[in-house]
């Protein structure tokens, strides 16, 4: 395709694609060796995936540095798509030669800045989690298997990031789901863990279904799964439609977004993530901070040009993100389990990213993805360290005063908390500031799409919700730090707590350092505050150019002229949040209990997470699964007996004549209506009576019905 070219890769020469394949295959190899021979290897094999991951990280880092240093990032597209077939790296999977639609099923690597960033994040966090797990999982009976699963997960995640093809993305997406299922349910003896992994898997599948349908719609219209081709054709479709996106594109974009809703735990499919904290804490750090949940955000980023063509879908994305950010933050305020707080914080931060993307600020959203990966992984690992020190006590009310006993953990977690709260000079500040700026100026390319400018009421919602959520973030994160580390110990475990071993604290330190510096502009191109969304330049996606040759996007979406307003908002919300936290928990000026009592109904709703789990359980899960037998029995009683109990009985009633109508038709209808919601699975019971002649009657009836339908209706 014109517009995309192969660049000279100085550092790597022609081997860049093989390097990327190495990044992908190292963890797979580690998994394969570890799952079969792990237990027989020295140290039960933990070093193998760790070293493999470290190698992958080094490779990713060098790719990333090349990407950063390159003067013109738009040239950094490297794809082994069909023109590059001679590279021998494109794996022609589904189609033999000469079949139309050839390119769609070729496994190829799409490497651009987005990929570079994601590779760095995934490999680094994964590597650190491997190291951390050596301490945390010590003595677990299934220790080798844990590392194998980590390898499998890393492989799937890297594949997801590297592929240039929606179909393969789906495959890796499902693999990520599978491996996260294995990891969350690692301690499956615990019923809660077994349930949590099931819940995570099934809930995300709900979103995936929508995504699959969206993919089908894209396929149906474009006959391609290749990202670049999709963007190109989307542009053409918009032009062909007179500058207005065709309706199906909006629907397809929203359906595709359902995948991220599930995977990135957005409202209303966020319910799995808090439960997933039942998994080992390193898993929480890996999956629920840095990688798997980021996959949804990544997908939106990857499909961003497509979304840009569908402003209404962008609005949905922005609203879902902003709402999730605020919604989860409110729940986070009330929780006492340290990991639950972090879980809701994660949901909230993911909401930030999604909202930023929805407002058209690709750079801001993905920058937050990266900085969030640093500080949230640090926080999770820190909480793991705390839990390790507290002998698996997770209730913050029983902690306190850990500052002196676990100084390294405290310092790193404090740094990360400052970052997540958005204190200037910490990494989170830059990205959060960019997001606030983006919500102030939601600027997808509407002018060029001949649509009215985005100034509607709905578009202004994020700019209210996001700062509010940021305030709450600062508040509950400092609440966490104060309750855990400050004050005096509130239990025996807290008094006896001790610092974790070095293989746990070193990753903490690394991540803590990144939480401070990881987003700072001077680290990369020496530019401070002026154009501080350097990230925009970094993820400015050359893939866009393929599309923007047709419809132009604003070049610097989201940070043009944001000036001081977002900065001030950020500072105010962060400052007041922190201040409130200190007033409540450190200096005890206000009593949290009193406030809670004053707004008891609201507090209760929030504390119980708005009863969303109960809602699902009551209205979706139970009707579908648990109350099956009850429903079936009732169904038998009312519907089966009333309606289908054989021809003879009906005939007798007919002969009796009296009350038959009332009894069967009226009551039957009423009962039928009452059971309409549960009819589905129980339908079998109507027919499958076990009586031979019923079957034959149904055979004859079915044949008649088919004849009638065919003759008169088709």
């Amino acid at each position: 395709m014109q517009g995309l070219m192969q660049t000279d890769w100085g550092l790597f020469g022609d081997d860049h694609l093989r390097l990327m394949l190495c990044i992908l295959l190292l963890p797979l190899m580690a998994f394969a060796v570890q799952i079969f021979f792990g237990a027989k290897l020295p140290r039960r094999g933990d070093w193998l995936p760790t070293v493999a991951m470290g190698g992958a990280f080094v490779l990713a880092l060098s790719l990333f540095m090349t990407a950063v240093q390159h003067p013109d990032p738009t040239l950094f597209l490297h794809s082994a798509r069909p023109p590059a077939d001679e590279d021998g790296l494109a794996w022609n999977w589904l189609w033999s030669k000469g079949t139309p639609g050839k390119g769609n099923f070729v496994f190829a690597i799409l490497f651009d800045n987005l990929t570079a960033v994601m590779l760095l994040v995934v490999t680094l966090v994964s590597f650190l989690v491997h190291v951390f797990s050596m301490g945390y999982m010590k003595g677990d009976p299934r220790y080798p298997r844990f590392f194998a699963y980590l390898g499998l997960f890393s492989f799937s995640m890297l594949g997801l990031v590297l592929t240039s093809n929606f179909l393969f993305l789906l495959i890796f997406w499902e693999l990520v789901g599978l491996s996260s299922y294995l990891l969350i349910g690692f301690w499956f003896e615990k019923p809660s863990a077994a349930n949590a992994c099931k819940k995570a898997f099934l809930t995300t599948r709900v979103g995936d279904t929508g995504m699959l349908i969206g993919m089908m719609m894209i396929w149906w219209n474009f006959r391609t799964f290749d990202f670049v081709e999709i963007f190109e054709k989307a542009g053409q479709a918009v032009i062909a439609n007179g500058g207005v996106p065709p309706g199906w594109m909006t629907i397809a974009a929203i359906l595709v977004f359902m995948g991220p809703i599930g995977k990135s735990a957005q409202f209303p499919l966020h319910v799995w993530l808090p439960d997933a904290m039942e998994g080992p804490t390193p898993v929480s750090a890996l999956i629920h901070a840095a990688t798997m949940v980021a996959a949804g955000v990544y997908l939106v980023g990857r499909m961003f040009p497509f979304f840009m063509f569908a402003p209404d879908a962008m609005l949905v994305v922005a609203l879902v993100g902003a709402f999730t950010a605020l919604f989860a933050a409110t729940i986070g305020i009330t929780q006492f389990d340290i990991k639950k707080v972090l879980a809701y914080s994660t949901i909230s931060q993911l909401g930030f990213m999604v909202a930023a993307l929805g407002c058209g600020a690709l750079g801001a959203g993905l920058m937050h993805l990266m900085t969030h990966a640093w500080f949230k992984a640090c926080l999770f690992l820190g909480s793991g360290s705390v839990i390790h020190g507290m002998h698996h006590e997770q209730d913050m009310r029983k902690m306190g005063g850990l500052r002196r006993r676990m100084p390294i953990t405290y310092l790193t977690m404090l740094a990360s908390t400052l970052a997540i709260a958005g204190v200037p000079l910490f990494s989170g500040f830059y990205s959060k500031d960019a997001i606030v700026a983006a919500t102030l100026h939601p600027a997808p390319g509407y002018e060029s799409l001949a649509l009215p400018h985005a100034g509607g009421l709905l578009w202004s919602l994020p700019r209210l919700l996001i700062p509010l959520a940021a305030l709450m973030t600062a508040f509950y994160m400092f609440r966490l730090v104060i309750m855990t580390f400050h004050g005096t110990p509130r239990s025996g475990e807290a008094e006896r707590a001790h610092e974790s071993p070095s293989n746990m604290t070193v990753p903490l330190l690394v991540l803590g350092l990144l939480a401070v510096l990881g987003g700072s502009p001077w680290l990369f191109n020496g530019d401070f505050l002026g154009k501080h969304i350097w990230f925009n330049g970094l993820v400015h996606n050359p893939v866009f150019d393929a599309a923007s040759g047709i419809v132009s996007f604003p070049e610097q979406v989201g940070h043009e002229g944001h000036g001081w307003a977002p900065l001030i908002i950020s500072l105010v919300v962060a400052g007041s949040g922190i201040l409130l936290a200190f007033l409540f928990y450190q200096w005890k000026v206000f009593r949290p209990e009193k406030v809670a009592a004053a707004i008891a109904p609201i507090y209760k709703a929030v504390y119980n997470k708005y009863w969303i789990d109960e809602f699902y359980l009551r209205f979706i899960v139970r009707p579908l699964v648990f109350h099956w037998n009850v429903f079936c029995a009732a169904f038998d009683k009312y519907v089966v007996d009333g309606v289908v109990n054989g021809v003879g009985r009906t005939a007798r009633r007919l002969a009796d004549g009296q009350g038959w109508f009332d009894k069967n038709i009226v009551d039957g209808l009423v009962n039928l209506a009452a059971f309409l919601t549960q009819v589905f699975g129980a339908i079998a019971r109507i027919f499958q009576t076990g009586y031979l002649q019923h079957y034959i009657t149904l055979l004859a009836g079915g044949a008649t019905a088919v004849l009638v339908i065919f003759y008169w209706f088709l």
Partner: protein, 105 residues
């Protein structure tokens, strides 16, 4: 001598088919049900032969051959059916079609 129209044969065959179906659907003894199946098969066979015969010599040959095969298969089926019914009688001590009712939802 005016021949019998083909319609009439078809009408009888249809009647036989419906009667067989009725027997299968309504009688409460397995042996009756098997008899009903025989009626259905005979109805089909009659249609084959009648149509064949009205198409001339080639058709008559086809119809006869098919009819023969149907007779043979019906005999085999009856044998198996009776064996199975006897087996059912041995295990369930009943020849009512509704008595074997272990397998259901």
């Amino acid at each position: 001598m005016s021949p019998v129209p083909l319609h009439w044969y078809l009408a009888v065959a249809f009647l036989l088919f419906v009667l067989g179906l009725l027997v299968v659907l309504s009688r409460r003894n397995l042996i009756y049900i098997l008899m009903g199946v025989e009626l259905i098969l005979n109805a089909s066979s009659l249609v084959f032969v009648a149509f064949g015969s009205y198409r001339g010599a080639k058709g008559l040959l086809d119809g006869t051959v098919i009819g023969t095969f149907i007779v043979v298969l019906a005999a085999a089926e009856a044998t198996i059916a009776l064996a199975i019914v006897l087996n059912i009688f041995g295990t369930f001590h009943s020849v009512r079609p509704e008595d074997p009712n272990l397998l259901k939802e």
